[in-house]
């Protein structure tokens, strides 16, 4: 399927979901939907570096918070419309991603993961000590109550996050099927062999950290308007780092579908648990699910479905891994 058609289908599905939510006329749906969509963006962004290139980033919260604090800083200067804030937040996080990549990408595996975790700690310390954006006290953002013609402002925020999610998924899918995606896959598999095949691994890794960071920053940019009060401990919350790793892993990391499925499943589950049991139980659920999936389905839900479909060569997913026009696996 061509990417422009895919983009339109995503828009249509998103539009239909949004229209359905509007018909329900319950602001809570948008309130919860925003969080789920935010995780769709975060886990899709994480997967570009973590799933496609195999570099596990524990610093999602740092990029997310950078986007959020860009908004806070700009809001204090001059309140810009949210789409513009998205661009600024994305640019700031993308730039930091590029710098971080340059400093850390010679590290591999656990060492890279530790470096990204350290980045999050360093940035949080900087923000805590930056008085202009509120420091450790935090910053209040007073958002408009309503926006025409949608009604409650949270609906507008949810719509923006929906569009961002569509953009993130379309980009991820586009990357996956392009020259860039093949390059990323070789980095995940074997960097030495990739270089020997002409793949400029360092440059590709920098591109990946930049795109990944930029989307995380964009996901964070509307956050101050959503939450109303930002403080370092909430913007740099461990939940973001853990969830954005857990969701792709549960869904499956090699395609764009995985993070989407993971984020929708886990994100919705967390929202349901928050209102029915307790919000404190969220990370516990993530932990249990993650352990379960690592044992039962190490390649996530997508891997599980694929394994099942490969017994039927006509399957939709069975073919994708084996190639688009595959003549079917030989017995």
């Amino acid at each position: 399927m061509r990417s422009d058609i895919f983009f339109l289908i995503c828009l249509a599905v998103g539009g239909a979901a949004f229209a359905g939510a509007m018909a329900l006329d319950n602001d809570y749906v948008f309130f919860a939907g925003y969080v789920v969509l935010q995780y769709v963006v975060l886990s899709t962004a994480w997967n570009i570096l973590g799933g496609y290139c195999g570099y596990v980033n524990f610093g999602t919260a740092a990029f997310f918070a950078l986007g959020a604090y860009s908004t806070v800083a700009i809001h204090k200067l001059y309140p810009l419309p949210i789409p513009l804030l998205l661009v600024v937040g994305g640019a700031v996080s993308g730039l930091v991603g590029l710098i971080m990549g340059y400093l850390t990408l010679r590290l591999r595996d656990a060492f890279f993961a530790i470096a990204t975790l350290a980045l999050a700690v360093v940035l949080q310390t900087l923000i805590v000590n930056w008085d202009y954006v509120g420091g450790s006290r935090g910053a209040f953002i007073v958002r408009p109550e309503v926006i025409a013609p949608l009604g409650n402002y949270v609906r507008y925020l949810c719509l923006i996050m929906l569009l961002l999610a569509v953009a993130a998924i379309t980009s991820a899918r586009l990357i996956e099927r392009s020259r860039l995606g093949y390059g990323f896959a070789t980095i995940r598999d074997d960097e030495l062999a990739a270089e020997a095949s002409g793949v400029p691994t360092l440059r590709l890794k920098l591109i990946a950290t930049m795109i990944s960071g930029a989307f995380m920053g964009m996901a964070g940019a509307p956050f101050p308007y959503y939450i109303g009060y930002v403080q370092p401990s909430s913007a740099f919350g461990l939940d973001y780092a853990i969830n954005s790793i857990a969701m792709p892993l549960i869904g499956g990391t090699t395609t764009w579908v995985g993070p989407l499925i993971g984020a929708i499943l886990l994100g919705s589950l967390q929202q349901i648990v928050t209102v029915t049991i307790s919000s404190a139980i969220n990370l516990l659920i993530v932990g249990f699910l993650l352990v379960g999936f690592v044992i039962v389905a190490p390649n996530g839900i997508v891997g599980l479905v694929r394994g099942f479909m490969q017994h039927k060569p006509t399957g939709l997913f069975g073919r994708r891994r084996l190639g688009v026009n595959a003549p079917g696996p030989t017995p």
Binding site: R179, Y182, L192, A194, A196, S197, G198, A326
Partner: protein, 241 residues
């Protein structure tokens, strides 16, 4: 005739250990050169220095008339220098076809040449090594000899001027060795210069036009195979006399 590969007084140390010392070697276009030496003599280190995986401290390498100093591995591949690895290193999550696709996209594509139908070219490359029927399989489904063939096919996909085959035949049966040799000979008749690094003497002797011997990081012989194996220094290095 200008040389394709010129190595001049190349030296490489790992801490206090001298891995390569004062290696000079010239390979002309279209040549078939065998590179032999006991374990630890520096063969793979030399390959790694030529391909840019390791940086040499002394001396220089020129390829196709240009110095390679400062060029990264992928830049060298794009200039026409391809290698296979001693232990096959396929892209495990990609099908064989996509394994071929990577050098086509990145090495050949970077030279401004684009195959109109990349997929057809991938299949053609796999057909040349007899892996066409497994084009949609993953590397983990292959046998050892097929894995070596995949490694060679991927190196070939980059359309190199010089192919360095690092122990492509280790651990194979005699008939499998013949398979690989025939493949390499065919590539050579197509105009590709080949450096063969190998322990199996029978294979090296029948393949090489010239034999280079490394011992303890030094080049001790360079010449026609029959002469080289009669060289007393080579004999003593191999037989420990």
């Amino acid at each position: 005739m200008t040389a394709l590969l010129e190595i001049d007084k190349l030296g490489k140390r790992f801490g206090g250990f001298v891995a390569l010392e004062n290696i000079s070697l010239t390979v002309g276009p279209g040549e078939r050169v065998g590179l032999i030496g006991p374990n630890g003599s520096g063969k793979s280190t030399l390959v790694n220095c030529i391909c840019g995986t390791l940086r040499n401290e002394a001396g220089s390498v020129r390829f196709d008339g240009h110095p390679l100093e400062g060029a990264s591995t992928h830049q060298r591949t794009r200039r026409g220098l391809a290698r296979t690895f001693q232990l096959p290193r396929p892209f495990a999550s990609l099908s064989l076809l996509d394994n071929m696709r990577v050098p086509l996209l990145y090495a050949v594509g970077a030279r401004g040449r684009r195959h109109t139908d990349i997929e057809a070219r991938c299949v053609e490359l796999l057909r040349e090594v007899g892996l066409e029927s497994k084009a949609w399989r993953l590397p983990r489904d292959l046998t050892q000899v097929e894995m070596r063939k995949l490694e060679l096919a991927r190196a070939m996909a980059a359309e190199p001027k010089l192919l360095i085959a690092d122990e492509s035949m280790a651990g194979l049966t005699p008939s499998e060795v013949e398979d690989i040799l025939a493949l390499l000979r065919r590539l050579n008749t197509e105009g590709i210069t080949i450096i063969l690094i190998e322990h199996i003497m029978r294979a090296v002797m029948s393949f090489s036009q010239r034999l280079v011997v490394l011992v303890s990081g030094r080049k001790i012989a360079d010449g026609p195979p029959d002469e080289v194996v009669r060289n007393p220094e080579v004999e003593s290095a191999y037989l420990g006399q």
